[in-house]
């Protein structure tokens, strides 16, 4: 096709779309939903950043307070004026009070685009020697009902809404010519109808995609800073989303090539959207749940409790006798708490936690193995739905995939183990009971917060290359059908 013809087509498309108000209405709609999604995503990102700032301040405050309090006790001949359970020179007290540290997963800038698992997985934990988070919630506080309703983010707009708008943009490229009676005119021209249609769809795709990125890139840079533009995550995201749009345009060409009415074209494309966007994922979930059933966390708890009971049937009795029920540490049957009691509690907590951890470890491994198997199987099947493939890709690139949260969680487990190894020996030093010093306070293990946005475990390149191939085949079939159209 010559450049001059392309220019004519370009002008024709713009005039057509402008005159029937599709361009204005559609692009206004795209603008509004994108602005809303970017606003929602970036404000969530800022909230998380603020929370991390608060955590840093909190950590400093607690550390300063701990050091000052220990210094005060040491300066007054180890006399602590307050309640003995708050005395920081007992390692057990510090392990409960100022000792627990926060472990945080720093949100990557692209998280403003894709909420992914960040809605249901914690991005920070308070790490106690007994568990990752205690006292309050097992994860960040959020309204379950709002989680059930779902998030309105860029990923939702791109995966669900924009294909529909693309359908509106492309469903009648051929059929409208037939319905308006201009088809015969086109047939009599010396240009290939297939080439003309392909070029028209290409122009529409180009317009749509360019407009889309022209909004997203600068606004996102303005909202969360431009640093993400230098990451490979961003450019893969651009490739994946642009290819996803191309797939829907190719599908529109194929449907148009069947010489159906505009009405039926729209129906067919909506039906395909429904199948690929909702039904295939629903069916996959159905199949994967049966193939790799995920054990309930209740079962883990039951196993843990069984182990504790078994322990107390054997040597736990001695522990109870020697520590918990010994007159030295008997809390309830006394009027004044003694240092021995604080020590006794520390030992009980330490011993029973070791049992709990050992019992939970195996069940937890099984749980994560099953989830991992589901994830791997999902990776194999994700090609059955471009919507699913895009969802997986986007969350991996934004650092909000289950895999990344799981990695963070495992790092926190290792950190918790380190914290336990730090406190346990100090808690169990019976000789003095009060062994925690300023040097110890300064040596409390810290978690290094970092971004988890590595995506190399997901074959993004091959998957999208394959989809580019599928898109090319769909385009090719549609083109050939138009080329040999006899209607």
């Amino acid at each position: 096709m010559s450049a001059s013809l392309f220019r004519v087509l370009w002008r024709h498309e713009l005039t057509c779309l402008y005159r029937n108000r599709v361009l204005v209405v559609l692009f206004s709609l795209v603008l509004v939903v994108l602005l809303a999604a970017l606003w929602a995503g970036s404000s969530q990102w800022h909230t998380q950043q603020r929370t991390l700032g608060r955590i840093r301040a909190h950590r400093q405050e607690m550390q300063d307070s701990l050091v000052q309090r220990i210094r005060r006790v040491e300066a007054h001949g180890m006399h602590y004026p307050g309640f003995i359970w708050d005395d920081p020179t007992f390692a057990y007290n510090t392990a409960r009070n100022e000792g627990p540290q926060y472990a945080a997963k720093v949100p990557f800038a692209l998280q403003a685009l894709v909420a992914g698992q960040s809605v249901v997985q914690p991005f920070y934990y308070k790490v106690y020697i007994t568990k990752k988070q205690q006292l309050v919630h097992e994860s960040e506080i959020d309204n379950s009902y709002l989680q059930f309703v779902g998030t309105f983010d860029f990923a939702f707009v791109v995966v669900y809404l924009l294909p529909l708008l693309l359908i509106v943009f492309t469903y009648n490229v051929v059929s409208s010519e037939r319905e308006q009676g201009t088809w015969v005119l086109l047939k009599t021209s010396n240009q290939s109808i297939a080439q003309l249609t392909l070029a028209r769809l290409g122009i529409r795709y180009g317009l749509f995609t360019l407009f889309f990125w022209a909004i997203v890139a600068p606004i996102l840079a303005g909202l969360v800073g431009p640093a993400f533009l230098a990451t490979s995550n961003w450019w893969w995201l651009v490739v994946a989303v642009s290819l996803y749009f191309a797939f829907w345009v190719a599908l529109a060409l194929l449907v148009n090539s069947f010489s159906l009415s505009s009405n039926l074209n729209a129906l067919t494309l909506i039906f395909l959207w429904l199948v690929l966007g909702l039904l295939v994922p629903a069916l996959l979930q159905f199949g994967l749940d049966r193939a790799y059933p995920i054990p309930s966390r209740i079962a883990i708890t039951t196993a843990e409790r069984d182990a504790i009971n078994r322990y107390f049937e054997r040597d736990g009795q001695t522990l109870t006798q020697e520590v918990f029920s010994s007159p030295r540490t008997l809390i309830r049957q006394a009027s004044v708490v003694t240092p021995g009691m604080v020590y006794g509690y520390g030992v009980i907590v330490y011993k029973s936690q070791e049992i709990k951890d050992a019992a939970t470890q195996q069940a937890e491994r099984q749980l994560y193995r099953q989830i991992e198997q589901q994830q791997v199987a999902l990776r194999g099947w994700q090609l059955t739905s471009p919507a699913l493939l895009l969802q997986e890709t986007l969350s991996a690139l934004a650092g909000t995939h289950w895999q990344q949260f799981n990695r963070f969680s495992r790092d926190v487990d290792a950190f918790r183990y380190r914290t336990q190894r730090f406190f346990y020996p100090k808690m169990a030093q019976e000789s003095t009971y009060r062994t925690f010093t300023v040097a110890d306070a300064e040596a409390i293990p810290q978690f290094q917060p970092r971004v988890y946005a590595d995506y190399h475990w997901l074959p993004i390149g091959p998957s999208w290359l394959l989809y580019a191939g599928i898109t090319a085949v769909v385009l090719g079939v549609g083109y050939r059908r138009l080329l040999h159209a006899t209607w």
Binding site: H58, V120, F148, Q391
Partner: protein, 464 residues
Amino acid sequence: MLRLLISKELRELRRTTNAAWLLAGLTLLVGLALYNGYAYYTTRSAFLRQSQQTTYAQFIAQGDKNPHLGAHFGFYAYKPTADLALLDNGVEDYTGNSFYLEPHKRGEVKFREVSDATALRSFGFLNVGYFAQLLLPLFIFLLTHNLFSKEWENGTIKLVLSARVSTGQLLAGKLLAAGVVVGAVVLLLALGPLGLLAWHLGPSELTPLLPTYTCYVAGLLLYAALLTVLGGAVSLLTRNSALSLVMLAGFWLLGVFLVPRLTGELARRTHPTTTAVEFDDHTFHDMQYGVGHEGTKDERRTALADSMMAYYGVKRLEDLPVYFIPITIEAAEESDGRVMDRAYAAIERNEARQNRLVQLSALLSPFLAFRELSLHLTATDLDTHRDFAAQAEAHRRRVGRIVDAFYQKNTVAGNAFWRTVPQFAYAAPGLGWRLRHAAGPVLLLLGWSVGAVSLLMLAKKISL
């Protein structure tokens, strides 16, 4: 004449291959939704029932232990699967269902299934509720979008109007014909789960569920009818199938996906939830330094010691005829409990404000109104969840009191004592309670029905 009109419409529909494909696909989906719902309901209800027995059996068989240590071993209160979760599992997977009954610590419902789910979960869980809320409207709109417009497009409108049929009859005939097809799908949705429930539960356990089930079906019928009328009204108003389809599909998209999610985000921004860090800070501060004129923890403890010594006329704590430590622990538990109650109540108040905003958006979407009704009637809503959490927390405190009373006099508790601690049992509130909580969605559905009929009347006036 009406019968003739209905049979003409149905014949026309039957001859259209698209409708046959649509119905076949739909039946397959309903079958899948039923199987999914049934598997979810039976597996989970049996598992949770069994787990409740196991956790209690572990507690009462823990052997000789220090009572306080035994109380810390505690047991779980599991929220039983809702009696109609086969229809709709609502927010169940998002709230968790395990509540740890342990002293000193305000319990919280844990183990949300959704935390361990893959990304597929974000695409929804196909069951009857999902089908009715998401797919049924689309099917109805695909069926009705050209109910009237095709007469204009085919040029048969003059023919139809010149026949011995009034415009009212024409309207009723076409809508009833669509109603027959929609009714068949609704019947399948209503009878399928009922049959599965009857098979699983047997007549004696099914009978108490029937009033609630009947209300659900009535709601579903009203919802399907209003959507049918709405689809017909738009078709009549536009007299153009393509335009009608775009409008109805757009309305569906907005109502099902856009409005609730966008309102959810708005609710998050207008009523921001406190973070766990802030919650931790505030509750720690309130426990340590007291609220208002309560005084610090140390001051409260000193005041308590002074009052106890004055009461017993002694000068040293060691001379008290009772143990002072258990008294301080109980006093601390009481004051800490108040702090936690206040903090949790604040969170719940905020969540209620957020939820109200989302639920209000049902003014713009009948799909949301039906979803709310469905959640409330199947007891898979947040209100029922809160009721469970409140009862579990009350049980936790009850267990604490029983153990504390025993501990004042004994240092070792055996299985004979553990068996005196009552098991936890939860039954979801009855139909009256559910309907009271669902009053808003019911009114909104009725409002939407009136609106749909009014639109149809307007369309009739304009087009016929």
